[in-house]
């Protein structure tokens, strides 16, 4: 009885138009890959910590959520969702952007080889460095990757806005997602285009990431050029209306 009244309160919170669709029915054969799920389905929870909280320490909201999850169906988790401690969302996004024709195995392989290569280069540099300089050398490939990506993110972007028949390049603020996307896109296109025919992708990618980490290299140069363009076009900034 208590569970059904709890269910009714959550149902009543939702928009009136949806209540007609919300039927507790699961079809026998469910296509999950390219389907649009019925909003009735709940998101899966991959993190392990959530399930280790003992019964006594749950807040009322968490208890209610657990009750809901025991009644409602849950969407299938995608392949990229893991409960692993080594899971990194930024790295997963990078792998997906590098993937061609859905071949994630090859993309993930390239990234792991890149990380290994970066680590080897830095460790060798560490061994050769004099005592005073050793502490400055960063050997963690994940830290290098994140820092390099930060160094490649543009602060301001350009948009093509039409005013009086002509198109002007107007400086606009960028959202975080857009900045991250641009940094990754530039990195990948740089490594695909501007390399010698015989250099492998992981080799070129590790060189570029190490250069970006120390704020050198072609990708940071491209970011600076974008900033310069935006600076030179500041006069058109008032063409932006949002």
């Amino acid at each position: 009885m208590a569970s059904t009244s709890g269910l009714r309160t959550t149902l009543s919170k939702m928009a009136a138009s949806l209540t007609g669709l919300l039927k507790p029915w699961t079809p026998r054969v469910l296509l999950v890959r390219w389907s649009r799920y019925n909003p009735y389905y709940l998101e899966p929870e991959p993190r392990k910590e959530v399930y280790h909280i003992p019964e006594t320490e749950l807040t009322p909201e968490q208890k209610e959520e657990r009750e809901l999850k025991s009644v409602r169906p849950i969407k299938a988790a995608t392949n990229s969702v893991t409960s692993s401690v080594f899971n990194d969302p930024v790295l997963s996004k990078f792998v997906n952007m590098m993937m061609k024709d859905g071949d994630k195995i090859i993309a993930k392989g390239i990234i792991t080889q890149t990380l290994e290569n970066m680590k080897r280069k830095q460790v060798e540099k560490y061994h050769k460095a004099p005592e005073g300089k050793k502490a400055e050398i960063e050997c963690n490939p994940y830290a290098i990757f994140h820092q390099a990506l930060e160094n490649c993110k543009p602060v301001i972007g350009l948009a093509s806005i039409q005013k009086g028949g002509k198109f002007y390049q107007v400086p606009i603020p960028l959202t975080d997602n857009r900045r991250r996307f641009l940094a990754m896109k530039w990195m990948i296109t740089e490594c695909r285009d501007n390399k010698h025919r015989r250099t492998l992708m992981y080799e070129k990618l590790s060189q570029e990431l190490l250069a970006a980490f120390s704020k050198e290299g072609n990708v940071v140069k491209r970011k600076h050029e974008l900033h310069k363009m935006a600076e030179s076009n500041r006069a058109y900034a008032h063409y932006r209306w949002w």
Binding site: F86, T112, Q113, K119, V123, C139, N140
Partner: protein, 391 residues
């Protein structure tokens, strides 16, 4: 309990040879990492108390003993870490104890290391080769027999025997590495027979072996026949009472000698392994009709031709012909890491006091990360190595 016993027993015992140098000159190292390292760098003095611990191959020995035997990923690791550390494991210790107690006046014993992919067969072989070289044996190390039955660009018809084929590049490479490993034996061993190479060239009886090897390296065309001659001489002289030396034949991927090859003759018909001079002579070496040494072999599925990837047992990989030729042999199974060995390997990669900086991911240094590594690698040595490389 086992780990604590090890750290207590070692300072009390002080085994006879390879004396601990901790008292002299070196700074006292904290107990925490001597659990997975040992100062006992001489394979002859290692025993069960050193199981699971890493010993360092002295850098001076490294290039002479292992010019060509090590797995490529291990060579990369040695280059990165600036040191070559090998774990003392059960199969290698067992082999070394057999070699210590064998009777060398009887025909040679053949030892075969087998196990699943990545379990450490080649590394155990290299450990045993290091032991043989420190004991002053002559080591004949063939890094991978599969390299002789595939991907050969030049296949010359043999001058000595009409139906056989020579492989000049592979033979000369091997002779060069053989010369690096066994420098000190080359001047001591004298030939017992006269070898004629062409109408104008021949090597007389009583000349040192070094001359024969140099000739093989410089005259690439007859290098396969030189290899055959070297093997024959060593086989005849190994058990000799005057100036006798012990001969260790270490072959990696021995199942390549009895399978099929991917090489083709000019009329596109396949070449059988016995039609290759190198393989023919090596098979004669592996027969146990000589005495004064040992044959240590490893099976390998990785480079093998026409063998399914799940095969690892001797019967499956050697085939009927190979098994009949190798029979009787002493099988030595190589298993995946035990819990203690895994601990030791994990601590070795984690070791940042001794400046490795290998496991860098912050989560890999926690308990959760360690459990995940066990799950992902199933304690397989090579899989663990590949995982720790990018973490």
């Amino acid at each position: 309990a086992v780990l604590r016993r090890t750290s207590q027993v070692r300072p009390l015992h002080g085994s006879g040879c390879g004396q601990q140098q901790e008292a002299i000159g070196m700074e006292t190292r904290p107990e925490t990492f001597s659990i997975f390292r040992t100062q006992e760098n001489d394979p002859a003095c290692q025993s069960e108390q050193h199981l699971g611990q890493y010993y360092t191959v002295p850098p001076s020995h490294f290039h002479t003993v292992f010019p060509h035997g090590l797995p490529p990923r291990y060579q990369q690791q040695v280059k990165t870490f600036n040191e070559g550390c090998v774990m003392v494991r059960q199969p290698a210790l067992e082999l070394i104890s057999h070699l210590k107690r064998a009777d060398y006046s009887k025909p040679t014993l053949r030892y075969l290391l087998y196990g699943v992919k990545g379990s450490g067969k080649t590394m155990s072989l290299c450990h045993t080769v290091h032991y043989c070289s420190t004991q002053g044996w002559l080591v004949l190390h063939i890094p991978d027999a599969h390299l002789w039955v595939k991907n050969c660009k030049e296949l010359l018809p043999s001058s000595y025997h009409a139906s056989r084929f020579d492989q000049p590049i592979q033979a000369s490479n091997w002779l060069r590495n053989f010369r690096t490993t066994n420098e000190h034996f080359l001047s001591k061993i004298k030939l017992r027979q006269r070898y004629v190479w062409t109408k104008r060239e021949s090597t007389e009886e009583g000349r040192p072996l070094g001359e024969l090897v140099d000739m093989g390296v410089s005259r690439v065309k007859s290098s396969s026949d030189v290899v055959g001659a070297v093997l024959k001489e060593l086989r005849l002289q190994a058990g000799g009472t005057e100036g006798g030396f012990r001969l260790a034949v270490a072959v990696d991927g021995v199942n390549g000698l009895w399978g099929r090859t991917t090489l083709k003759k000019e009329d596109k018909s396949p070449v059988a392994p016995e039609e290759l001079t190198l393989v023919h002579n090596l098979r004669k070496m592996i027969n146990n009709d000589w005495c004064g040494g040992a044959v240590i072999a490893t099976l390998s599925q990785t480079g093998s031709l026409y063998a399914p990837s799940s095969a690892y047992l001797p019967q499956e990989l050697l085939g009927e012909e190979g098994f009949d030729s190798m029979d009787p042999f002493v099988p030595v199974p190589v298993s995946l890491y035990s819990e203690k060995e895994f601990e030791s390997c994990y601590l070795y990669y984690l070791d940042h006091i001794h400046f490795h900086h290998w496991l860098q991911h912050p989560h890999s240094q926690t308990e959760e990360g360690k459990k995940e590594l066990i799950f992902l690698s199933n304690r397989n040595p090579s899989v663990l190595e590949r995982l720790c490389a990018f973490l």
